[in-house]
């Protein structure tokens, strides 16, 4: 009996091997006629069709790699295990890379679409982390705000302070990330979200500890599903998820709190030791073209800084949506995260630990 079982396993394995070797033959790689460009971007952060179109139009092969957080991207680029040409980090990570001399200056003459199509206000906003707009070209942006279920609250939510309302005990979802959690408390106190002042930080920490009994959960991407399912009344969320969650559950409302909030910008940067700088410029230029930016906006659904692409959106509701395209000039208390240095990071992490362990 044992022997039969063995022959059986053996047959199965042989079959598997044959299958694999057959599949292997059908898979060859063809190198681009005009070289390659190596891109490091967030997962699910581009319409794959646009990559194919770029390869067809330019004959440059795109080698595409994905990361999941700014923090996991940084050491991979720094270690030099792979020489990437382009990456797409967020604001504060870009300032860290600038400080450490990892980025190469952008030559706007080679990227005409970047100046032509990207709105001036987004370059203005980028100055927070890239003071002279020398390194980063905005790709996606958004705000952090409150998503609430209008059937579960008594009055409209308009301020961060309402996250401290005991009425909503056990119905509040906070972001489980240091900067986003402290940003809420700091803005509520009227302080900067990039503060390193110990008194201000202490005040923010105490505020967060005070709020803790009211919070149902500290989560990251689960805010989306929990809010759609009506498991909580109020949640802190990124604006990019708002349109999607509203489509799934029409009772949800997204708003930017009166006290101000974080504007985040993910931007294209060219790395200092990029082996294919010219192709990298062509790639970024292509991504800034209005029709391509539109395709990506429709795929990702995060706000695009590409004004020309926004003009092409056919759905009037989305084109004029306050959520996707809030008028930044309306607010005077919006900020962008800046890299705080190693000591600053350490300080924030220590305080966050105190909050979580309280």
């Amino acid at each position: 009996m044992k022997k039969h079982r063995m022959t059986h396993i053996r047959q199965t394995i042989t079959a598997l091997a044959l299958l694999l070797s057959a599949a292997l033959c059908g898979c060859g790689s063809d190198k681009g006629v005009n070289g390659q460009v190596i891109v490091y971007n967030w997962g699910e952060y581009i319409d794959p069709e646009t990559l194919r179109m770029f390869e067809e139009e330019t004959g440059i092969e795109v080698i595409y790699d994905e990361f999941e957080t700014n923090e996991s991207m940084y050491p991979k680029v720094e270690s030099g295990a792979v020489a990437y040409d382009i990456a797409c980090p967020s604001d504060y990570m870009i300032s860290r890379m600038i400080q450490n001399g990892m980025l190469s200056e952008i030559n706007y003459d080679h990227i005409p679409n970047a100046k032509k199509n990207i709105g001036a206000q987004y370059y203005e906003q980028s100055r927070g982390f890239d003071p002279e707009n020398k390194y980063a070209i905005p790709y996606c942006w958004g705000t952090v705000g409150i998503l609430y279920n209008k059937t579960m609250v008594e009055e409209p939510i308009t301020r961060w302070a309402q996250l401290w309302d005991e009425k909503y005990a056990d119905n509040i979802l906070m972001q489980d990330s240091v900067r986003d959690a402290f940003m809420v408390a700091e803005k509520l106190n009227g302080d900067s979200m990039n503060t390193l002042d110990t008194n201000e930080l202490e005040a923010a920490k105490n505020l967060l500890i005070e709020q803790k009994p009211l919070v149902q959960a500290y989560v990251v991407d689960q805010v989306r599903d929990k809010m759609i399912g009506g498991e909580a009344a109020i949640g802190v969320i990124y604006s990019g998820e708002a349109i999607y969650t509203q489509k799934e559950n029409p009772d949800l409302v997204y708003m930017i709190p009166e006290e101000g909030t974080n504007v985040w910008i993910d931007s294209w940067v060219i790395l200092k030791n990029a082996p294919n700088k010219e192709n990298a410029e062509k790639f970024i230029d292509f991504m800034c073209r209005e029709d391509i930016a539109l395709m990506n906006f429709e795929y990702i659904t995060y706000s695009t800084p590409n004004v020309a692409a926004r003009e092409l959106i056919e759905d009037e509701d989305i084109k004029n949506s306050e959520i996707a395209f809030p008028d930044l000039s309306q607010y005077d208390n919006l900020e962008t995260y800046v890299y705080l240095g190693e000591d600053g990071d350490y300080l924030y992490n220590e305080l966050w630990k105190e909050v979580k362990a309280y």
């Binding site: 009996m1 967030w42 699910e44 999941e68 030099g80 990437y84 759609i228 799934e248």
Partner: protein, 259 residues
């Protein structure tokens, strides 16, 4: 009363083991993209899965790496076991200790050290580095499952074969190898599943644009995992289940026909 308690206990165990997989399979037929809402029954994620080149390529990479790395590790591991039986006691236990360390070592340490090693040797990251790393961490598992069979082996049968005029190689393949086979096969399967499962080591040693299923799923965190992945996971589960049932069923059929 006692039997009822027993049944409830068993039911609970099965529930905890399989409820997550059950939920995943249900969600793979959910029309709505979110887990929070049932949007109706659909096969669209299965159709989308087979049109999604990236996922299919990741699946292919995963299987290719798992199969090749476990095959090579099995050969190396088995040869190592044979060599170890000829060693003195002291040398043998030292060698066994050395092979056991990587198994107890945290994956993240193995991953980072391999990455540093490849960088310092100037090896280009890609499919090859993943394969090398997987072979490395697979070998101990093969040795661990072949070694006990080796100890049970009766040396006299091999010597008898030699006495009867067989060449050493021939004697090995006709006498020793069949006895080792169950151990070798279970070592192979163990290495295969270990390689299939691995995320951390692959994450550190993979090159640009090369993704296995585990690293692919991880990059989807920011935007939420796509339901196509649920569909794929369900298919993998069903495939493994049918394979297991087939392997377990046929000997029983054989026995029936013999009786």
């Amino acid at each position: 009363m006692k039997t009822i308690a027993k049944r409830i206990y068993i039911a609970l165990i099965i529930l905890f083991l399989y409820a997550p997989i059950g939920i995943l399979m249900v969600l793979s037929f959910n029309e709505s993209k979110t887990r929070a809402k049932w949007g109706g029954f659909t096969f669209k994620w299965y159709i989308a899965l087979f049109q999604n080149e990236e996922i299919l390529r990741a699946l292919f990479n995963t299987l290719l790496i798992a199969f090749t790395s476990s095959l090579i590790a099995t050969v190396i591991g088995t040869v190592a076991c044979i060599a170890m039986t000829g060693m003195k006691r002291r040398a043998k236990s030292i060698l066994m200790g050395i092979t056991n360390i990587p198994m107890l070592n945290a994956d993240i340490v193995t991953g980072i050290s391999l990455m540093l090693l490849y960088i310092s040797l100037g090896i280009k990251f890609g499919m090859g580095t993943i394969l090398l790393s997987h072979i490395t961490f697979n070998i101990p598992y093969v040795i661990l499952s072949v070694m006990p069979r080796m100890k049970q082996l009766n040396v006299s049968t091999y010597e008898a074969a030699l006495d009867l005029g067989s060449s050493p190689l021939h004697a090995f393949f006709r006498v020793v190898f069949p006895d080792l086979l169950p151990g070798i096969l279970s070592g192979f399967l163990m290495a295969f599943t270990m390689s299939l499962d691995d995320f951390i080591i692959t994450h550190f040693t993979k090159g640009v644009g090369v993704d296995t299923l585990s690293t692919k799923i991880y990059t989807e965190i920011k935007k939420g995992i796509k339901p196509e992945m649920y569909a794929l996971s369900s298919l993998i589960f069903v495939t493994v289940l049918t394979l297991l049932i087939l392997i377990n069923l046929s000997p029983a059929d054989q026995k029936k026909s013999e009786a």
